[in-house]
């Protein structure tokens, strides 16, 4: 904490958000310890192939987590993203394979559709002040059902071989394409959150909606835009997922929403709204990814892995509560 204050004084122009990065040093430290431990104890952990595999494994969650960070900073929540991934994957399969649409047109349609439906949900949330949890829970259920309706609960194959590049391909034979897509996404979201009027509005709306409205910030428009972004990223996640498994599948993305929310929270974004950062979210996703990978390499039972992830989430939140003085 002392370093934080010193930093703030030394560079008066720094905003509270920039200082959040320093608050995140705890997570960075935890990540480092985890890395060293796994290096010592997990066989074949510290190979570049394995580490790139981790990056590929976390890519879809990471991209969706960026959008989720905006959602949570604005004080909302989106529990529909896992189902939205399943729906998008299913729809892509139906359009591209069953309906013989050109692949590019099917992808464009899926992305646009996901964005529009989420915008509509955002509009409902704003217009009638319904809690985002309820709106997105309704979407979670409907998306899940719709995915089964259009696929009759069967995976749809085959996509053209060339499609596999987005989920399975490599750049320079070693860097997974989805990992690159994730890093680009993190970069774009970092820029949006720290350098744009929109990003500032997201923090402001989550920090104090009433004060934001009185300052002439378009609160409703900001919220709807956040929903649209969340919908777009979930749809994109569905497309990449389809490419990774080379099928349009109704049963992908199950539980993804809570993995993503957990990573965002571990990354230090407050569910109360108003604070959080993209870097933190990226570190949170990375932490969870390394943990799963390490535990698998060490032969930990997958069921126990789930228990471990749950406890780590609780522990991470407790640490952040203990670090901060309680605000009234």
């Amino acid at each position: 904490m002392t370093t934080q204050v010193a930093e703030a004084k030394g560079k008066p122009a720094w905003s509270s958000r920039a200082r959040d990065v320093f608050a995140r040093s705890g997570l960075l430290f935890g990540l480092l310890i985890l890395f060293v431990l796994l290096w010592q104890f997990a066989p074949n952990f510290a190979t570049s192939r394995n580490l790139f595999n981790v990056l590929r494994a976390i890519a879809i969650n990471g991209m969706i987590a960026c959008a989720m960070t905006f959602v949570i900073i604005s004080g909302d929540i989106d529990v529909s993203v896992g189902s939205a991934v399943a729906w998008s994957s299913s729809l892509l399969g139906v359009l591209a394979i069953k309906q013989h649409w050109p692949l590019i047109a099917a992808v464009a349609f899926v992305l646009a559709g996901g964005t529009i439906i989420h915008s509509l949900a955002g509009w409902i949330r704003v217009k009638w002040s319904i809690p985002a949890f309820v709106v997105t829970l309704a979407m979670y259920m409907s998306y899940k059902g719709l995915a089964k309706v259009i696929t009759h609960a069967y995976p749809i194959t085959p996509f053209p071989d060339s499609f596999s590049v987005w989920g399975q391909g490599y750049i320079l034979k070693i860097i997974p394409v989805p990992a690159v897509l994730m890093l680009i996404t993190v970069g774009i979201f970092y820029f949006l959150s720290t350098r744009t009027v929109f990003g500032r509005s997201v923090y402001s709306v989550g920090g104090n909606e009433e004060a934001s409205r009185l300052s002439g910030i378009p609160v409703g428009r900001t919220r709807i835009t956040i929903f649209a972004i969340s919908g777009f990223m979930a749809a994109l996640g569905g497309v990449i997922m389809s490419s990774r498994i080379m099928a349009g599948a109704y049963n992908v993305g199950e539980g993804l929403e809570f993995e993503v929310i957990a990573a965002v929270v571990i990354g230090g974004t407050s569910l109360a709204g108003g604070s959080g950062s993209m870097i933190g979210t990226f570190l949170g996703v990375l932490f969870m990814g390394l943990l799963s990978n390490g535990m698998t390499l060490m032969g930990v039972d997958p069921y126990w892995q789930e228990v471990a992830r749950g406890l780590i989430l609780l522990f991470a939140v407790l640490i952040s509560v203990w670090q901060k003085p309680i605000r009234k």
Binding site: P12, S16, T196, R327
Partner: protein
């Protein structure tokens, strides 16, 4: 016969303020005593002492001639003093009967479990309501009742303790006039039954209807106790104000310029009635009115926060058909809201972010922030408003009230407004910060801004304004020049009932 309640030489001091200064106060059986005074006069401290929420530093409290100490709110009940606060303490989801007996529901044992005895609740609750002679459905959920009915339940709840002394803290501030009459009847009835009642109010017009006697507090001292018949607005205003106040001379201001803001016949159901006024550039228009007079509703409506039922808002000659904060900002209007923590600031943001909240467009190109320019705007504002902050990066909730208020004002000044609506900019800040805000308001006017200034403190309005609009119950009841009206006269006018 000893009075039911007697306070003798009661003192209470807070750091930096004497809240009660050797106050004597007696109350007889069956008496309704109105308690009056400006904000900070000591009314609420007196109420808190009687309810056991704070303890006096010295002095004696006697009930029926016996000295008592009131250690806690529950102790106050046992001593026979019940207080009904302005804020409702009812549970909306429970019934009328359940609320009246909240927390002391009769129990019965069923199969070894302690269970609420629903049948036993009703007669006790009914007895309390009967005492008030009001009929309410005991099984109705409280959330379905009007504010006035809820107020009556609060009183019934207090009466069910069978108190000797009932303290009502501004019971009518949220009620419409018809409902006020019902409440007055209930109060009179309770007095006839022998309860002694302390009735805190700032509505002068209700005194003859409800009170027998009036006590006025000022600066923590008991100024005097008179009969309700003697309590004319002029007398009360004189007692509330005292002689030691003088208007600051600001020197000759700039000549008022063109009309910046004109509103005509603004109406909002039950809140605003045919409000019209103009403000010119270089002019400070003060609005004097009590809480609930419609002053906040007026500026909120102008700023597009609440829907209007009729009327016209005209900014620099242009009629604004659909006001919203965004359009009003674009037309050069700013509003510093009355509640800086809830409405004015994002407390978990840095000072810099709060100073530039409303002016993002000034330092962004195509939606991309130019952070150095934003920091520059904030730094200049910290300097020109003399905001005391260790840096631009500290969180705004660490600043003092006065400095937070300056941040709220600075946020709007950064939008380069031509019209600034200031709702209670001096609320809850220290004297020095108040002085600075006054100077700032005068400075802004001399730079050509049109300022609308609202304050609960009538002295402040009189001090800082070039022209004063008097508001009462949603109407403009007069317009005066500060130099031509004294403080007492103004206060009396503010408290008078409008001739409707």
């Amino acid at each position: 016969m000893a009075p039911i309640l007697a306070l003798e030489q009661v003192c209470k001091q807070y750091p930096g303020v004497v809240a009660l200064d050797h106050v004597d106060f007696t109350l007889d059986k069956g008496e309704v005593r109105a308690l009056l005074g400006k904000n900070g006069a000591g009314k609420s401290t007196l109420v808190k002492i009687l309810s056991g929420a704070v303890h006096p530093d010295s002095g004696e409290i006697r009930i029926d001639g016996n000295p008592v100490t009131i250690d806690s709110p529950s102790d106050a009940f046992h001593q026979g003093i019940c207080t009904v606060y302005q804020e409702m303490s009812l549970v909306p989801g429970l019934t009328v009967a359940e609320n009246i007996l909240l927390g002391r529901w009769p129990r019965q044992r069923i199969l070894g479990l302690s269970v609420i005895d629903r049948k036993a609740i009703r007669p006790i609750a009914k007895a309390a309501l009967d005492q008030l002679e009001v009929s309410l459905n005991l099984d109705e959920e409280v959330s379905r009742l009007s504010v006035a009915q809820q107020q009556l339940i609060e009183i019934a709840k207090a009466i069910s303790f069978n108190p000797r002394v009932l303290v009502l803290d501004e019971p009518t501030s949220a009620l419409a006039s018809g409902e006020v009459e019902v409440l007055h009847k209930v109060v009179r009835r309770l007095a006839e039954q022998g309860h002694a009642i302390i009735y805190v109010t700032h509505r002068l017009q209700e005194i003859p209807n409800v009170a027998d006697t009036v006590t006025v507090l000022r600066d923590g001292r008991q100024i005097g106790t008179i009969t309700a018949g003697e309590a004319t607005p002029a007398v009360i205003a004189n007692m509330m104000i005292g002689a030691d106040w003088r208007r600051t001379e600001w020197g000759a201001g700039g000549q008022p310029g063109e009309v910046k803001l004109a509103v005509r016949n603004l109406n909002r159901e039950g809140l605003l009635h045919d409000v019209s006024f103009e403000v010119r550039g270089g002019e400070v228009l003060g609005i004097a009115g009590l809480l609930g007079s419609g002053r906040t509703e007026l500026v909120r409506a102008i700023f597009g926060l609440d829907k209007l039922d009729g009327g016209e808002i005209c900014v620099k000659g242009e009629v604004i058909s659909n006001p919203s904060p965004i359009t009003m900002k674009a037309h050069g209007i700013g509003l510093t809201p009355e509640d800086r923590k809830r409405q004015g600031l994002v407390l978990i943001f840095s000072v810099q972010d709060n100073l530039t909240q409303a002016s993002l467009s000034r330092f962004s190109v195509q939606g991309i922030l130019q952070r150095a320019r934003g920091a520059g705007l904030a730094r200049d504002m910290v300097r020109s408003l003399d905001i005391k902050t260790p840096s631009l990066g500290v969180l705004t909730n660490t600043l003092s009230g006065g400095n937070q208020q300056k941040v709220v004002v600075g946020n709007w000044l950064n939008t380069l407004p031509e019209i600034l609506l200031m709702d209670e900019p001096t609320r809850g800040i220290d004297i020095q910060a108040k002085e600075q805000i006054f100077h700032l308001v005068r400075d802004l006017a001399s730079q050509g801004l049109a300022v609308v200034f609202i304050s609960s403190e009538i002295e402040e309005v009189l001090d800082v304004a070039d022209r004063i609009l008097i508001m009462n119950q949603g109407r403009v009841t007069g317009e005066v020049k500060p130099s031509e009206i004294g403080l007492e006269k103004l206060l009396a006018r503010v408290m008078e009932e409008p001739a409707s």
